[in-house]
């Protein structure tokens, strides 16, 4: 074991720096009072502007809704007829497609109806899949209700 040469490491002259145990505060750019003041100022200036905008926006919304409600009967009347026509067409196509399949009854699963606890000849709104069952899937509307968002 060789002996260490030269002087050993010693503390610097005057001793080590004392440990930092005091709290260092962050630099603050705004005091509490200033924050409250900014809050009040923003609200006092902004609220009238907001209310003004809201009033005009609300007026616009009511006008759009009024226009929409006036137009809906015209659209519904045509839509109902188109839906019934499509139901007829789907029934004809299904009868044609399944004519060679034994024991198949149109609109049922081998004679078993879709809904068992409703009276016969009840209208139940068909789903989109029922209406587009024999058509090209790319023809199915992606955004069904887009017209409801003016």
């Amino acid at each position: 074991m060789s002996k260490a040469k030269g002087p050993q490491d010693l503390p610097p002259k005057g001793g080590y720096v004392p440990f930092q145990i005091e709290r260092i505060k962050l630099r603050s750019f705004a005091t509490g009072k200033m924050g409250i003041g900014i809050f009040i100022a923003v609200n006092v200036i902004g609220m009238p502007l907001y209310m003004q905008n809201w009033r005009s926006e609300r007026k616009r919304i009511i006008e759009a809704k009024s226009r929409e409600l006036a137009a809906f009967p015209i659209l519904f009347a045509e839509n109902d007829r188109a839906l019934l026509k499509q139901l007829k067409r789907v029934r004809e196509v299904e009868a044609d497609v399944m004519k060679d399949f034994p024991y198949w009854e149109v609109g049922t699963f081998f004679g078993e109806p879709i809904y068992e606890d409703v009276p016969v000849d009840t209208y139940i709104k068909p789903t989109l899949g029922e209406l587009y069952v024999f058509s090209d899937p790319t023809n199915k509307p992606v955004l069904e209700y887009i017209h409801l968002f003016p």
């Binding site: 616009r60 009024s66 226009r67 009347a77 045509e78 019934l84 609109g107």
Partner: protein
């Protein structure tokens, strides 16, 4: 049931009628005038649709609505065609959905003036179609659906309630 042979669908003769061959921006632009002109037919159709919940039973009312709208469009085209076309073009150019006319007050004013002058139709007041109104229909009221759940629990007591058995709400103060 929805599409089986028992389900009676109307004949082609009942379904086919002269449809509106016009696009949505035109309908939306003329909607308030048509709604005012055909108000009775619209109310009758919507009430039928709401009460019976069956499009097969409201085909006649629906045809009346389409016929009335068609007549209205023909009148507009005959008397205010140019103004209507200008207004719709402006709406289509400035709005995303082809209905919002907030940047078209000038053409809208011209269209309204023309409608008032030539057809004596005033634009309905603000929010007219958002108001609730009573419609007196000649069609009899439909029968309420019979109760199919015969073994259900009895209905709760009607408003003059009996006194509580176990101190009511204060019984929970343990």
């Amino acid at each position: 049931m929805t599409d089986s042979k028992i389900f009676a669908l109307p004949s082609d003769q009942e379904l086919n009628t002269e449809e509106l061959s016009i696009s949505w921006p035109y309908i939306a632009a003329a909607a308030v005038f048509l709604g005012k002109k055909c108000e009775w037919y619209h109310n009758e159709f919507m009430l039928c649709r709401y009460e019976l919940k069956d499009p097969r039973k409201c085909l006649k009312e629906g045809k009346d609505v389409t016929k009335c709208a068609k007549e209205g469009f023909q009148e507009i085209k005959k008397h205010c065609g140019k103004e209507f076309e200008a207004h719709v073009n402006c709406v289509v150019d400035t709005s995303a959905t082809g209905t919002d006319d907030r940047y078209c007050s000038k053409t809208r004013k011209m269209f309204d003036d023309c409608m008032l002058k030539n057809l004596n139709m005033e634009r309905p007041s603000f929010g007219y179609f958002c108001e609730a109104r009573v419609h007196d229909s000649p069609r009899p009221k439909p029968e309420p659906e019979p109760d199919r759940f015969t073994d259900r629990l009895p209905d709760p007591a009607a408003p003059p309630y009996p006194p509580p058995k176990y101190q009511g709400a204060s019984g929970f103060n343990i």
